[in-house]
């Protein structure tokens, strides 16, 4: 069920009504049922996978809780007799037991993810490397498996770390894993955050509901009016690499940058909006990423839940792991302080970006995309002192024109790296980017060539107006905070904006026959 399908809109409309009618204690079980239906409609077989993930996480969590309880009880009962060393030994023993449970859970779930998503990729690479003729297995890839696996793993790791209390109710945990709005494209929620409002009873509040509704409409506006309109041109530009070279690649790069932005942030707006309309709070996944002044800042603002997941569950644990510490010590001794201190940081960052790329897709273009991010971030980090000197000398930093320059530079850089995602082929991406510098013809911007990309002049007008609206809202948010919060105080404006947004989506949306109904780009991850 696509977010943009009539079926889905009817589904959430019915859910909203039923959710606020049923007794409050039935609200979360209703959401679990709705999530099951949502997943079942997508493909009933998917349910098996998400059931295994939920059950294993719940089981492991309960086992850990029992160990914790047992330990607490033992220490309480033997408070007078147990020595400090015994206490330490008991804790170490239990930690090891919990570690084994965690490991089993991780292996099972990461294993499912790896097998379903990456088997064919591995077979492909074996065939290419050894010229063997292994057949692909073509396994089904459950919808949103990367998202819900990561989300569930964060729960079990947090339970192991003791930062969350394991959930005893298997159905509640199943809801955390399968809450349907987040299944399509995230965000990757943390149990500690989501559980605060997911299971709570919610009374209907006009403010909360209309805030959610506005967020949903804003998401549809970005997805249906902008992203799904732009995809026509992007598809044309990247599918005919003989014709669309040079300046066309430049156009494709920026079109894809804005298409992806509107597609992904639009989808997340819909997700968070649905949750909000149900009274459930999800953490933000974006914070004006295209206002970033450098790539590091960009990654703090784009797909925040994924970035923080990799930081919390891969980068930090890896950096402080005994082997890394050993390596750090060794490298400082043998390579000197300057290089030595960087070795482990770079290695951990390399692994993070490699896995980030791999998480996005079972293909080399995603891995190279991840590593390109790593390279650029490392280079900019190394050059930071130089930049600092430069800024000090010329006094550019902080000036508005320079800030704009930094923002444009970051957008350009990120869009350039994203070409690996766009063309989905590493050598082809290098070739096409190369033509941008060798065959750039400005003429295509004036001779009507852009009107032959499946977009009419009216489409360009709609896109221009829509992007100006999105930019204005973003600037407002950057300077003065959420537009929605301010607008809500003025009910005539608030409901007028909602009405206008709805009409604009209906009239100017790129949907229905004549348009390809397109899945969200991040749904494939």
């Amino acid at each position: 069920m696509l977010f943009t399908s009539y079926g889905f809109i009817a589904f959430i409309a019915i859910l909203f009504v039923v959710y606020y009618i049923v007794p409050k204690k039935w609200q979360w079980p209703l959401l679990l049922m709705a999530s099951g239906v949502f997943y079942w409609i997508a493909d009933p077989r998917y349910l098996i996978f998400i059931f295994v993930t939920s059950l294993s996480a719940w089981g492991c969590g309960v086992l850990m809780a029992r160990i914790n309880d047992g330990q607490a009880l033992y220490l309480k009962e033997h408070a007078d007799t147990v020595t400090k060393d015994e206490k330490k030994a008991l804790k170490a023993k239990n930690k090891k037991r919990k570690w084994h449970i965690l490991l089993a859970c991780l292996i099972l779930n990461i294993g499912i993810l790896a097998v379903t998503k990456y088997t064919d990729f591995v077979i492909d690479n074996i065939n290419n490397a050894f010229h063997s003729g292994l057949h692909k297995v073509d396994l089904i890839i459950p919808m949103g498996i990367s998202f819900y696996t990561f989300q569930t793993m964060s729960y079990i790791i947090d339970a192991y770390r003791g930062t969350v209390t394991p959930e005893r109710n298997p159905f509640k945990l199943a809801l955390f894993t399968s809450f349907f709005p987040q299944l399509v494209q995230g965000p990757i929620n943390r149990y500690g955050d989501l559980s605060k409002t997911l299971y709570e009873p919610h009374r209907f509040s006009e403010k909360v509901f209309s805030m959610g509704l506005m967020r949903i409409l804003w998401g549809y506006f970005k997805k249906v009016v902008v992203a799904d309109r732009m995809i026509t041109a992007v598809t044309m530009l990247v599918s005919d690499t003989d014709t669309y070279t040079g300046a066309y690649v430049f156009v494709a790069m920026f079109f894809y940058a804005f298409e992806l932005y509107c597609d992904f942030t639009g989808g997340i707006d819909i997700t968070i909006g649905i949750a909000q309309a149900l009274g459930i709070t999800m953490k933000e996944n974006f914070n004006l990423p295209y206002f970033s002044k450098d790539i590091k800042e960009y990654w703090n603002r784009w797909h925040i839940s994924m970035g923080s997941w990799f930081t919390d569950y891969i980068f930090y644990p890896l950096s402080v792991s005994p082997r890394m510490l050993k390596l750090s010590k060794w490298s400082r001794e043998h390579l000197g302080k300057v290089i030595g201190k960087r070795v482990t940081v770079y290695l951990a960052a390399f692994i993070v970006w490699f896995t980030t790329g791999l998480w996005h897709g079972a293909a080399w273009n995603f891995i190279v995309w991840g590593l390109m991010n790593f390279v650029v971030i490392m280079i900019s980090q190394e050059l930071a002192p130089l930049y600092s000197k430069f800024h000090k000398k010329f006094g550019f930093k902080g000036k508005s024109w320079y800030t704009v320059f930094e923002i444009i530079r970051t957008i350009f850089l990120m869009s350039l790296i994203r070409m690996f995602d766009c063309y989905r082929n590493v050598p082809m991406t290098f070739k096409m980017v190369g033509t941008m510098f060798t065959r750039f013809r400005l003429k295509i911007f004036t001779d009507g060539s852009l009107l032959k990309l499946g977009l009419t002049k009216y489409d360009y007008i709609v896109l221009a107006v829509a992007l100006i609206v999105i930019l204005s809202v973003s600037i407002f948010k950057y300077n003065r905070g959420e537009v929605r919060t301010k607008l809500y105080e003025k009910p005539w404006l608030w409901y007028g904006a909602m009405s206008a947004l709805f009409i604009v989506i209906i009239v100017f949306g790129a949907y229905g026959i004549g348009y390809d109904s397109t899945q969200f780009i991040y749904n494939q991850f």
Binding site: T456, W492, S499, I503, V507, G512, I513
Partner: protein, 361 residues
Amino acid sequence: MTKKRAFIIVFYLVLTVAVLWFVQRLVMPKYQYGIVEGAMAAEYYEADEPHEVIFVGDCEVYEAISPVTLYEEYGISSYIRGSAQQLVWQSYYLLEDALRYETPKVVVFNVLALKYDEPQSETYNRMTIDGMRLSPSKIGIIEESMTPDEKMIEYIFPILRYHSRWSELDQDDWDYLWDRDRVTHNGYYMRVDIKPEAEFPEPPLLTDYSLGDNAMYWLGRMADLCAENDIELVLIKSPIKFPFWYDQWDQQVSAFARSRGLTYINFIDARDDMGLDMTRDTYDAGLHLNLTGAEKFARYLGAILDESYDLTDYREVPEVAAEWEDICEAYHAMAAAQYQELIEYGYLRNWGSAAVEMGRP
């Protein structure tokens, strides 16, 4: 929630619905020139006179039979509920829809559509269905007619289908926003130009000459519907040779008619008897009849209907005759205008599928 907020919500809800309703009217195709078939279904609801004969079918009825001739010659009050490539189930539901307003004595169904066993094209579906008023019949026709890409909701709220026409709007969309001109004469689509019948290619051999189960099922439903309402169902095959009407198909329809006690008349062999001259009575090389052809066929068919069924001579019913007077006047006026154009330009400038491209005065 305060009363003020509640008022604002209601205000904007009403406003939103009103704006969308207006935009829907604006973006829906008007079918006033060129391909006018899309306007036919809606015109039925504007007819005030009663109809004792209702024709259902495709272009082999709405371009082949003149209801005005039936009235002028026999006093038969009739209406054609036809549209382009109207499939059997569409004829069924259009008839069912008509029965919500009146119960005719005779229903005449042209059997050519039996060759289609499944939904064919969204374009034709739209022309047949969009003009219908919302009713269970409309829901039924949509359900049966949708091709895989189509959605029920886009028929119920056509703005969801036509919204992208905002960039193609022209003066006609504004001119015909509220009122539309009638494009037919009780469902009859008039053309007076002439293009003699050409030689048709040999009929292609088929692997299976059976009429489809689905098509025959809906023919059966139509027979049942007529029986339930005490209506005589007459099956006809218009005197048009192309598209081919195979003997095998003819035999199956004959057998069906026999089994249900219905009348079935194939008029292809009666072309000479009715005086059809296909060098003059067709406007597109024999695919459809022109005005003279439609009048000849109507005269011939009218005689059969008049003899076989107890039909009222509405020329003698003043209030109905008054309605028909207007219909006949509009009919003859359009015929005169079309003939005048033929004399003036040598071709039809304001009528026919090329009318939009050619421009209007």
